[in-house]
Symmetry: C3
Subunit: 332 residues, 3 copies
């Protein structure tokens, strides 16, 4: 619990409203309840701001007139949000090997595992050597968690899952706000990672926790090795992703998608169900039609790429055929 007065001091805000008002969490503008703080960066959030049920909102002066509740008025809203986020992050301190509050249900626990407070593990599960499971994690039945895995606080993992060695689940997302001196301020990620049933995760893959809401991996998903799943990504049922692919923050991947190796998918995109992406492609726009896509930037449908690609390797011949010389072409 923090009063608005306390928070205002930390984020260098002026309070409009009740400075003794208490909040106990941070949430998105359209989800926040009366005991929670939220933020609204600009006109994009204006409609949500007008209807917010939050107990308080971090805003700048330009939005104050539209704020229906207590406000913390700052110059740089995103920076203030980053600074305030750390107030609501729980520190985990693993003081002992296996905390007595953990419910292990006779799981096979290999040597040197560290298991935190209130962890719950389902029946018939096995936890490999040197695995670290932080406080409040839940894991389903028949889980096979292999050596040197780290699962961070409060993540939820389903049944019948296989997690390969070296995997990290629930690491901090890569969210940072910049101040006027161009210094970065990390955002504390308060969401978690939620993983469904029948999921497999390959060696040394990393899955970041969400900022305010959760990163989600739905039932039946297959992830290969060395994959990066950023904060707030959602991967829907029965999709499969090959090695060394990366998906940037807040992108949603549909059901039954098949993503090749070393694909890069940029943030805040929506990929529909039944999409296949060829290895090494970059996906830089939404995909709304099922199909096979391939490409370097800019992305194009695979058939299109086949038509273009055949000419690409002939480009010098084309210019030769046309008798085009470099000095025919103006500028650089």
């Amino acid at each position: 619990m923090h009063t608005l007065k306390e928070i205002a001091k930390i984020i260098n805000a002026s309070v409009s409203g009740d400075s003794a008002y208490c909040v106990n969490g941070l949430a998105a503008c359209d989800k926040a309840q009366k005991q929670q703080l939220t933020y609204a960066v600009n006109q994009k959030h204006l409609n949500q701001l007008k209807k917010t049920k939050a107990g308080a909102v971090i805003i700048d002066q330009s939005l104050l007139a539209h704020c229906p509740t207590n406000a913390l008025v700052v110059e740089n809203v995103y920076l203030a949000f980053a600074q305030a986020s750390h107030l609501f992050k729980k520190t985990v301190y693993l003081a002992q090997q296996i905390h007595p509050s953990a419910q292990l249900n006779k799981a096979k626990i290999a040597p040197n595992c560290i298991i935190g407070k209130n962890v719950v593990i389902g029946i018939n599960s096995s936890i490999g050597a040197n695995v670290v499971i932080e406080d409040n994690v839940t894991i389903g039945d028949n889980a096979n968690i292999q050596s040197n895995v780290s699962i961070l606080q409060s993540c939820q993992i389903g049944s019948n899952i296989v997690i390969s060695p070296g995997v990290v689940i629930g690491s901090e997302g890569f969210g940072n706000a910049r101040d006027k001196h161009n210094k970065w301020h990390s955002i504390a990620h308060l969401g978690k990672v939620v993983i469904g049933d029948n999921v497999t995760i390959g060696a040394n893959t990393t899955i970041d926790r969400g900022t305010l809401e959760d990163t989600q991996i739905h039932h039946g998903v297959r992830l290969d090795n060395l994959i990066h799943i950023a904060h707030n990504v959602i991967i829907k049922q029965d999709s499969a992703i090959a090695a060394s692919t990366g998906i940037a923050g807040s992108t949603t991947l549909g059901k039954r998608c098949m993503i090749g190796g070393m694909v890069g998918i940029v943030g805040h995109l929506s990929i529909c169900d039944d999409v296949t992406i060829s290895a090494k492609s970059t996906v830089d726009k939404n995909i709304t039609m099922p199909g096979v896509y391939t490409g370097i930037m800019p992305l194009m449908p695979h058939k299109k790429w086949q038509a273009v690609g055949v000419w690409l390797t002939k480009l010098d011949k084309i210019t030769q055929h046309l008798n085009i010389k470099l000095n025919h072409l103006k500028g650089n």
Copy 2:
């Protein structure tokens, strides 16, 4: 040991032949012996099927007439193979820190290592802190295995090797069969990883075990950090691979190859000896001639790329020179 009757129940097959026949392993059609089960997916395996020495074969109805031995007849052979594979996977349970059957030959073992049954480590070796070595692993002389490494069951590692922190050797391959409801079924990988002498492996690199046969890293190979080596890949003598590169399943790389960073090599390819691939290239076809290759898709020889690349950055100028407008070009 499993009878065909037992297996048929698990993979939903009808038995043609002796349902009391026992098998104790899975092998490829051309390698399987009489105590082993194999599978033949389609016409591609027809010749192997006719000559197989396997005790039993998983096939579909269309191949039954050509089967010289007991058959387990199913609708989806690859799926049935995936389901059957788990019967032959040994579960490893590391119940204690260092199993008394391990032969350590006075290796320097740092604190918190976990070493399984029947592990053999050669003379003058050192094993870093928090390393996990599963059952039946063998490691040669003068091995330098650094902290937080995981080496999974039955892998074989040569002498004079350096394995950097966080490396995973012998993780499950990314092999999955899809059922008619588009659900994925993992294949249990029954092969191992075999690594020769004088090999170095960089931090957090992952090497998957083979499906039925072994993933192989031959003598003198150099692997940098964060590399992905998939199941059944073979990397021949004295090749060197830079960081963040990925090689997909069943590809063979020749001797003395030099592969740049962030290269993607697709599966089932054969790259000949003495090939150099420039950083960030994609290799999507066999390479049969030594030389330097560079490219985005489609792959081309480096000299060709140099000729093409110079025009690529002029493409807008070319169209301008030719007075081509976008609306001159029909379609999309």
Copy 3:
């Protein structure tokens, strides 16, 4: 301490000068002091060689006339340097959980941490479970080092840093010399990693130590997950790098740069301050002007790429418009 005679035997050199002369370290030609050994490969090092203060130099016959000090004359200088480097590498043997010489300043140390000789940790720091910190590492105040991290010998880490699970700091660089039989010989990396204050490092990222000098990550830098930072890279203040990016050896990145995900930056480059690189780009030349850059090889300014990219997807249409057929184009 090694005499030139001892070293000559190991690297197969003839000594020119005092074979009883003792050296206790290796350094670059322009930095080496009289107790140190250095090397000069070719004409590139000639000016440095003439002015070197080193006690001895590994050179080939062609440079001997210009050598102002003792010389170890070999056929393949770089190979001899690789072989000699191992003489000066300290072996770390972590014999116990926490070495009594470590100064922990009441840091919170989770279970199963291994902490080597002479490690110094600042006040108010926390070290996660299963972390390995080798001899002579220093870590500042308010450090948050999470589970399964490996920090190798002698690395220096600042205050207010966050290191995510699975990170490796100070692994060997990917430097190898080839002999006349095309066998690789690893270079022992004698430099360290030096990390400033207020740095965050994402899960499973790896940072290699320098060859003779240090890999440097300056104050305020942000590194995401699964990033590869090679030996001798310098990343200046307040730069941020997104996931799965790799930077090859000896490249310097300026201040306040923002590098997208899956970018590959080749070695020995210099990128100036305030450069932004779009996701998935390859950087293959120095950048001397601030700005936004995007591209596959060859690299081009983002605006240029936008102009080119629009035509790239029309390439088949262009050839169609021009009535160019494949068989119009001579050769392949």
